[in-house]
């Protein structure tokens, strides 16, 4: 930094400090003397000071004037004052000040008090007067969106919940019906290869692969079975379930034929209870009872290795992969999906249960450190892991920047749609608390609350689509910005990724660079991938950003529509930014396009954000 620039910055800092202290009545006599000396001796200082004062007026206006009204009344008390003003303004403005009207003003002081009383009276009920609307209209806003687990459905050409899958795509029946067991409903379900059941239809006696999401099954014996993906199972009879991987929750009615869940190393039987069974990747089976009682029989190679063990409510047992060892296991209230959670996720129980259910789902994903989910019917969005609701008005949590315009924010189909013309912006603060997911994953720096610990990786994934507008129109931009803690008098926007400003092209825009390197990449970098610029309307783009934090400049690899089987080479690599990441911004502005975002995820590796 040059000496001249340093001096300018120092003066600017000093003026900002003095201006703020002066305006808030906190300036000392010494400070006031310094301020006056600065303003009197340097026209640039005077300009900057005036700028800060005006800026403060705007901030005051922005934050504090929502309820203010300017009220005019028909009182005649200040007639003399106005007459005096009218006379004064006839003279030359620049030369006339200051004018000592002490006597006149003292006389008017009494008038002012009377006017103030009248103003208050009218302010309480301004029926006889009129009012000017407040200048800052605090906008109403809708909330935010994005659906966990929808990703795989879109990328793989499958719709969530089977709703987008045409009948012709389903595997034709190969087996007998599984005892009239029926798929009742799904929540963001993604089915694996093979059999794709549809809500409302009887299930086949064939392996079912629920890659992600939830499925609710009504068994032939009356049991309600909730399956949480990823799970591999087979419904082999009215009360028979073969579970080879994943979690199921069973609610069995009393007085009906018992339910039997067979895992690789255990058999669980019950009647009239609520319990969960989990087969983890290490092939261990965990059974936990919420109500009633079940019996658990350890199995080795399909043969009981021990006598059946009764398991009562609020107890859990774990059977190791060999089926030879059984241990008690800690009971977890949230280890298994309950019917209520399922209902909540479908938005049937209201916003609060919905948020809690979303949080519960996220918390079971240790590699996921941030995500955004939205329920269009409830008009409720949840992000992060603190169950924060964005309801009606986006509000402080999402930090809408244009509240008036964000009142026009529309969200349909579980997507966040933002229109450039409306200049909508959504900020997401990452949860960097010591107990938060990022800290638990070891991503938070020790010296400051930001992501960026050397040697760690953070991945972001989202989908973006131009909904309408001429793709060739160069105006506007839409994309995601990476923000971080600033210590350089800047607002911390390191990188913008998406449809770059004032060019009908995709790419990135950089401002920051590593401290020891020139700002060689400042400005737009167009994406040179064939067929990707400009983005056509209606085409969903998938963006993947992999950030490898290193000592010094970090490496940021950006992929557009990457192959999910093999990532290959990134489309853009930025390697001279020393990034500190603590918040993200989704924004579209200054154009006539309409964009939508969906499935925004932040995770510790590629797999975490491309779950499927």
């Amino acid at each position: 930094m040059s000496t001249e620039r340093h001096d300018t910055q120092e003066m600017e800092d000093r003026l900002a400090l003095l201006a703020d202290a002066y305006l808030h009545g906190e300036i000392t006599p010494d400070g006031l003397a310094k301020l006056e000396a600065l303003v009197a001796s340097d026209p640039e200082a005077a300009r900057l000071f005036a700028c800060f004062v005006q800026q403060s007026g705007m901030m005051r206006e922005l934050y504090g004037s929502a309820n203010e009204q300017v009220i005019a009344t028909q009182d005649q008390d200040s007639t003399d004052f106005l007459s005096a003003l009218a006379a004064l303004e006839e003279s030359d403005h620049e030369a006339e000040v200051p004018v000592d009207l002490t006597d006149e003003l003292l006389r008017r002081a009494q008038q002012r008090k009377q006017a103030e009383r009248l103003r208050r009276a009218h302010g309480a009920n301004p029926g006889g007067g009129w009012s000017v609307p407040p200048l800052v209209v605090v906008g109403a806003i809708a909330a935010v969106c994005l659906l966990a687990f929808w990703l795989g459905g879109v990328f793989m050409g499958q719709g969530s919940g089977g709703g987008n899958v045409g009948p012709g795509q389903a595997t034709p029946p190969r087996e007998a019906f599984a005892g009239r067991s029926r798929l009742i409903a799904t929540h963001q379900a993604v089915w694996g290869e093979g059999y794709i059941p549809h809500p409302g239809e009887n299930l086949q006696d064939t392996p079912i692969r629920l890659t992600a999401g939830l499925a609710r099954i009504e068994m032939g014996n009356g049991t309600t079975l909730l399956v949480e993906g990823p799970a591999y199972l087979r419904i082999s009879g009215a009360g028979q379930v073969e579970l080879s991987r994943g979690r199921v929750t069973a609610v069995t009615p009393a007085g009906r034929s018992p339910l039997t869940i067979q895992t690789p190393n255990a058999t669980i039987q019950d009647s009239g209870s609520t319990f969960g069974v989990h087969v983890d990747p290490a092939n261990q089976t965990t059974a936990q009872v919420y109500t009633g009682q079940v019996s658990l029989t350890p199995m080795t190679d399909g043969v009981a290795s021990a006598a059946a063990i009764p398991l009562s409510a609020d107890r859990a047992l774990r059977v190791d992969a060999t089926g030879q060892h059984v241990d008690t296991h800690a009971v977890s209230e949230t280890a298994f999906i309950g019917v209520e959670t399922f209902e909540a996720l479908q938005g049937r129980l209201g916003p609060e249960p919905y948020a809690a259910a979303v949080r519960r789902m996220w918390e079971h994903d240790p590699e996921l450190i941030a995500a955004l989910s939205y329920h269009p019917d409830q008009r409720v969005g949840v992000y992060g892991f603190e169950s924060r609701l964005l309801r009606g008005q986006v509000g402080a949590d999402s930090r809408s920047l244009s509240p008036r315009r964000d009142s026009e924010l529309s969200m349909t189909g579980g997507r966040l749609e933002i229109s450039e013309a409306e200049a909508t912006t959504l900020f997401l603060d990452l949860d960097l608390a010591s107990s938060g997911p990022a800290a638990r994953a070891g991503l938070v720096r020790s010296d400051m609350p930001t992501l960026g610990r050397d040697g760690t990786r953070v991945c972001l994934s989202w989908m973006m689509r131009l909904e309408s507008g001429d793709p060739q129109d160069p105006a506007g931009w839409c994309g995601v910005s990476l923000f971080g803690i600033d210590d350089n008098r800047d607002l911390g926007e390191y990188l913008f990724i998406g449809r770059i400003a004032h060019e009908p092209a995709l790419g990135v825009t950089c401002r920051r660079s590593a401290p020891d390197q020139p700002e060689s990449i400042t400005g737009n970098i167009r994406l040179s991938k064939p067929g990707m610029a400009p983005p056509p309307a209606g085409r969903t783009m998938h963006w993947l950003v992999v950030i490898d934090f290193r000592d010094g400049a970090d490496q940021i690899s950006i992929y557009v529509d990457p192959s999910l089987n093999r990532l290959g080479n990134p489309d853009i690599v930025i390697d001279n930014i020393d990034l500190r990441l603590d918040r993200l911004r989704l924004e579209a502005a200054d154009g006539n396009h309409r964009w939508s975002f969906d499935e925004f995820r932040v995770g510790t590796d590629v797999r975490a954000v491309l779950r499927n």
Binding site: D20, E61, S78, F81, E89
Partner: protein
């Protein structure tokens, strides 16, 4: 030629934050500045038949604010540190400028730039300008040193100024 009252109202709405700042620097108290602005607004509407056009209106309102502000200053004399009238005169030229951007544009830029502040900075700014808290109280509330609060406010101000100017100059937002 007089100015219709609705034109006066529109003017006051459009220039409110700037005029408020003008009053604020004279009286060095945000609440007093609000009172000054409000009273002058009332007067401007009532005297609109004596105002002879937009330029005259601008000068009339600013002059009224100045006079009203000076009156308030007298009542606060000895209670506050106030800029001398000579320095206020110097600042007059700066008030007259301000670029070509409308106040609406500036407010939009301000909203967007405030949103870009880091969480802690935004919190301090909100406490300062939204709740009118003194620095010491902000420091106490946040459990920080008052010097840290001053530093945060200073950086927020300079960052906002640059951000706003950048946005108004380039009309660019992606970065």
């Amino acid at each position: 030629m007089s100015v219709p009252s609705d034109v006066v109202v529109q003017f006051l709405i459009q220039r409110r934050s700037r005029l408020l700042g003008y009053a604020w620097v004279i009286v060095a108290d945000e609440h007093a500045a609000e009172d000054v602005f409000q009273e002058v607004s009332m007067a401007a509407v009532r005297k609109c038949d004596q105002i002879q056009g937009p330029e005259h209106l601008d000068r009339w309102v600013r002059h009224a604010i100045r006079l009203k502000g000076l009156e308030v200053r007298r009542s606060r004399r000895g209670k506050a540190q106030l800029l001398s009238p000579e320095v206020l005169d110097i600042l007059e030229k700066s008030w007259a400028g301000g670029g070509t951007a409308t106040e609406g544009d500036r407010m939009d830029a301000m909203r967007r730039c405030i949103g870009q502040l880091s969480g802690p900075a935004r919190q301090v700014v909100e406490m300062r300008y939204g709740q009118g808290m003194k620095s010491q109280k902000i420091a106490d509330t946040l459990g920080r040193r008052v010097e840290t609060v001053y530093k945060t406010i200073t950086r927020a101000h300079t960052a906002l100024r640059r951000c706003i100017e950048d946005r108004l100059d380039t009309g660019r937002g992606g970065l």
